[in-house]
Symmetry: C2
Subunit: 607 residues, 2 copies
């Protein structure tokens, strides 16, 4: 027996069988419900509000777990909170003045020409090529089809949109000289989060920003879970999910910024897209099978994919838009890292720099203008709110900073909303402050004896952080996850340095990239041993480097050239079977580290 | 009230209104019926056989005129003869040994590589580029999507199909190394006739040939009629008709040659297409509006269109196939003429050559390796059987040669079939022999007094050529059409020569191009003043030069390069407002010419 389930907001209906859950229905209907535990009923994140007959158990706030509830008749489902604020914030718009707008991926070039005559009977196309002084330029069939009419109706003065692609240039559209809009999209496709910016390609200005969860989360939280899905069923469904995520973001951004960027015409005026992504995400975006990056010797389909068109992959922007993908070095060091480097400018400087991208994979780059080595560590999603019982992305209501002093705990939330969960920067603060105030020991075990704070849930010790409409706490499993994450990143840095016979003190600059980048409290990050014990002035936050690098590549041919040489010149260090990494990792699982000599100023502070 | 009309062969059904004709139904159903007079009821070519209630008048052979007959109930229509032998003959496969297979438009390149390892972890795409030693090669998304699987299932040895396009090369498909089929299509899109060849791109060998009427004939016989149609309704319908013509030809050829070229796999193994066509036909093929070539200053959309893909225009071959169009010089001197020149080789020689392409437009080129001038004349379709009461294309049953001696008329038909009509070479013979035997005078008036031969139809004097199942005759209107056609071509040659201060005797070689080219009797062509009075050995037939040139461009990058320089170096002479041309034309309307001094040997022969 089938039941109709309708989701709100959105009013999307789907028919499901008696024994299917609301989460199944949501997957079928392409409605996003956070299901971090994959429908096991353990993470509690799939809470929804329902109207109608069902078999679920309703909690005191009126929620049921979508993954544990089946419809017993026609049902309406409201997917709350997170979906309401889809247009998220992008923190840390790091400004890099190296690249100016110069040969953006698509450029508007004005073409003025004389009308033809019997003595000057050059054909329309060749006349246009001549007017823009580009004899070898190519042209899309649709642009060529509209050429005779537009030339004559615009009195031989038109505007062309010329794509600067790999080996050639192509006129992808033409229009009246009065029309000079030219918009591009820079996008960071993260495993967890997708962030994008609309860029005015004439000026390089950011017109609008938006971010959202990657809808692929429906089939699994991390890269390996996604690849496992592809191995069974092919890449089509996951490509579909990421394309839908992006199309929806563009739709939202257009709606939000209707006044500023136009409205319906906007989709057609968006004519270029530049992508920073890790290799698995990039593969799925292009419909490529990433399976081989899961198995030794970890081979991606392409380091540097060619430039495809929006219509090739179903993006709802101008169909001829070139899709530029920033090249990446290895299976787990992708275009997102190349983009970080590009944005930091470390590839142009003599000083020795260390770049750390704190994402679900923690990627580290060491080097300067002469050389670069890189590695990747499976840091885990803790700092993006994954695998943490009250974790969440950095959005409205997230606790983003914590201070504990003399047993008293102070929190701050994004937008000063009632707290909903804790985001990455809040987790770093929390663990550091708990450690400093002796709520936890060096192994991360909870040792506080305050009976109001400490409690046990399923025999796991937990510390209460906030009680109110939402109860927010952290348990020892959470802390262990955080320690594993920070240990992986710190160990990656250590191994990279020792592979070059160097140590932390040789590093003159440390760039921190990542969606939450600019919000980390460095003192606290050092307290937990995530960041090395170096002077404050050596650290620099570059925010979402993948997005920032994508923006640079969108507006500048020099940036695209630089991205190519960065990826080509990087040396990749594979840590997957490195005993040195395993040693370093084990040592780093303590607070701040087994080897306290590496954190002299922390020791001083703790005393 | 609607009636169902079903056409055979093909079993295509369509519903039409009471007052619509069978010809209307055929147009709606995309069934080809020859309708040279455009449905006026005057040409008699739309004869069909019908079963069922109708309002037409049936002749003694059981035919009705489709354009004069409406259904009065459900009806079956048989479209006879011409449709049965759709796969026509292509005469004169001129062999030009200048170009060998060298960088065909698409080339199979074997790629052998080492399997990756931890130490050699290049991505699949970059590994492939390296194996074929082409770091800048591009790749289609579909090929890239299949790459990881095929590499691994073929043990790192695969075959690639690399397209040599304008500024770049692209891998358009990949497959197991065992698969080495690589087929291209060369095609001549004439206003009246479409001819194509399947070419083995590995060897350059012709696998199969086919030709058919251009289905655009449904909306008008000549270029101007087609353009007039586009002005009213846009180019979509005509593009559709030519694409259907080509798709059907490829379908037929595959069927006919199933044993030799495979069968279902064939369409996918056809991976390149090279086109010779006049500018109007080329425009319509690409869906471009050719309207502006109709009006002063006669501007085509493009001299040299970029390389598009088969999927852009709906051709049923490999969707990524590059579509190469031979560049053309002017609104009425297109890629077909460039192809003629290429095939003749006149652009490589020191001797002064004159090239005549006898089609619906008569194009003429004069020059050598140093320089070339060209012009076009509206010769009319007479030599392709158009505008001639018993005219037809050179196919089974066409009278292709005629001899008259002492009042006795001998005919020969193609394939020795019962005569159905007269094709171009037969018409030249016929008029020449009638003139020689004094059946007509120098103005083309019928002066024979043989009462069995001479008769009047609607007050127009006609001469009976053959009586039998089909009555075949020629009338004074037909002869006037032929004289206009030959006069236009001869005048074009004269004007071109005098523009350079030369005369016919300076010409060392005359190349004759055109579908019927190799079948013309030169003596007879001189007798009617179509060809100049020069020694036999100066003439050379190159057959369908447009098709031959397209074949060369398909198999050789040098040929494509040569085509580009030929088109760029040609000087175009516009005859449309030339008083010199009008003078020459008027003088040439006589048999053989007003100025008999130009035909001294003819005068000797006539005496
Ligand atoms: S997905 Fe429902 S509880 Fe985890
Ligand atoms: S088309 Fe029917 S008679 Fe001409």
């Amino acid at each position: 027996m089938k039941h109709r389930v309708t989701f709100f907001p959105g009013n999307v209906a789907v028919d499901v069988n008696n024994n299917e859950t609301i989460l199944d229905a949501a997957v079928a209907a392409d409605v996003y419900i956070d299901a971090s535990c994959g429908g096991e009923g353990t993470c509690g994140k799939c809470r929804v509000i329902i109207e109608g007959p069902h078999n679920g158990s309703v909690d005191k706030n009126g929620y049921v777990l979508a993954c544990q509830t089946s419809p017993k008749g026609e049902l309406s489902v409201f997917v709350p909170t997170r979906d309401e604020s889809r247009v998220g914030k992008i923190h840390g718009s790091y400004s890099n003045a190296i690249f100016k707008v110069d040969k953006p991926l698509v450029e508007n070039i004005l073409a003025e020409m004389r009308a033809p005559s019997l003595d000057d009977n050059l054909a329309d196309l060749e006349r246009l090529k001549c007017a823009i002084d580009q004899p070898d330029v190519e042209i899309s069939l649709s642009a060529l089809q509209s050429l005779p009419d537009i030339l004559r109706s615009s009195n031989w003065c038109i505007n062309t949109a010329v794509a600067h692609t790999g080996n050639s240039r192509e006129i992808i559209d033409i229009f009246s000289s009065k029309h000079d809009k030219n918009i591009g999209v820079a996008i960071d496709i993260g495993t967890t989060t997708v962030a994008l910016e609309l860029i005015d390609l004439n000026t390089g200005a950011v017109i609008a920003q938006a971010s959202d969860y990657n809808r692929q989360i429906i089939v699994g939280e991390d890269v390996l879970a996604r690849i496992a899905y592809v191995e069974e069923r092919g890449p089509k469904r996951l490509q579909d999910l990421i394309i839908k995520t992006i199309n929806q973001l563009i739709e939202n951004i257009r709606f939000v910024d209707e006044d500023r960027v136009g409205s319906n015409q906007v989709a057609h005026d968006i004519r270029a897209l530049s992508v920073g992504a890790n290799p698995a995400m990039l593969s799925l975006f292009l419909g490529l099978d990433p399976t081989n990056i899961r198995y030794e010797p970890y081979i991606p389909v392409a380091h540097e994919p060619p430039i495809f068109r929006a219509s090739d992959i179903g993006l709802n922007i101008h169909p001829n838009s070139p899709i530029y993908c920033i090249p990446g070095r290895a299976a787990y060091v992708g275009g997102d890292v190349t983009a970080d480097i590009l944005l930091s400018g470390m590839h142009l400087k003599n000083e020795l720099s260390l770049l750390i991208d704190v994402g679900t994979n923690g990627e580290v780059v060491l080097g300067n203008r002469e050389w670069m080595v890189t590695c990747s560590t499976s840091a885990g999603p803790a700092f993006e709110g994954g695998d943490i019982s009250c974790g969440m992305r950095a959005m409205s209501g997230a606790i983003d900073s914590v201070e504990i002093s003399g047993g008293d705990l102070q929190i701050n939330t994004i937008d000063s909303q009632d707290p909903v969960g804790i985001c990455g920067s809040g987790l770093i603060d929390l663990v550091a402050q708990m450690f400093k105030d002796n709520w936890i020991d060096r192994k991360g075990n909870i040792v506080i004896e305050d009976s109001e704070r400490l409690y046990y849930h399923d025999e796991v010790a937990s510390a209460l952080i906030h009680s109110g409409e939402n109860t927010i706490s952290i348990n020892e499993d959470d802390i262990a996850n955080i320690l594993r994450t920070k240990a992986a990143i710190y160990a990656g840095c250590s191994v990279l340095l020792s592979s070059m016979g160097m140590e932390f003190n040789d590093v003159e600059k440390i760039y921190i990239a990542g969606g939450f980048g600019s919000h980390i409290n460095i003192d606290n990050a050092q307290l937990i041993g995530l960041l090395p014990d170096l002077p404050r002035e050596r650290f620099e936050f570059i925010g979402n480097g993948s997005l920032g690098g994508a923006r640079l590549c969108l507006i500048s041919a020099d940036a695209r050239k630089a991205a190519h040489s960065i990826f080509e010149s990087m040396t990749y260090l594979d840590l997957s079977s490195s005993p040195a990494f395993f040693d370093q990792y084990s040592s780093a699982l303590f607070l701040p580290h087994t080897d306290l000599d590496q954190f002299p100023s922390i020791i001083r502070r703790m005393k």
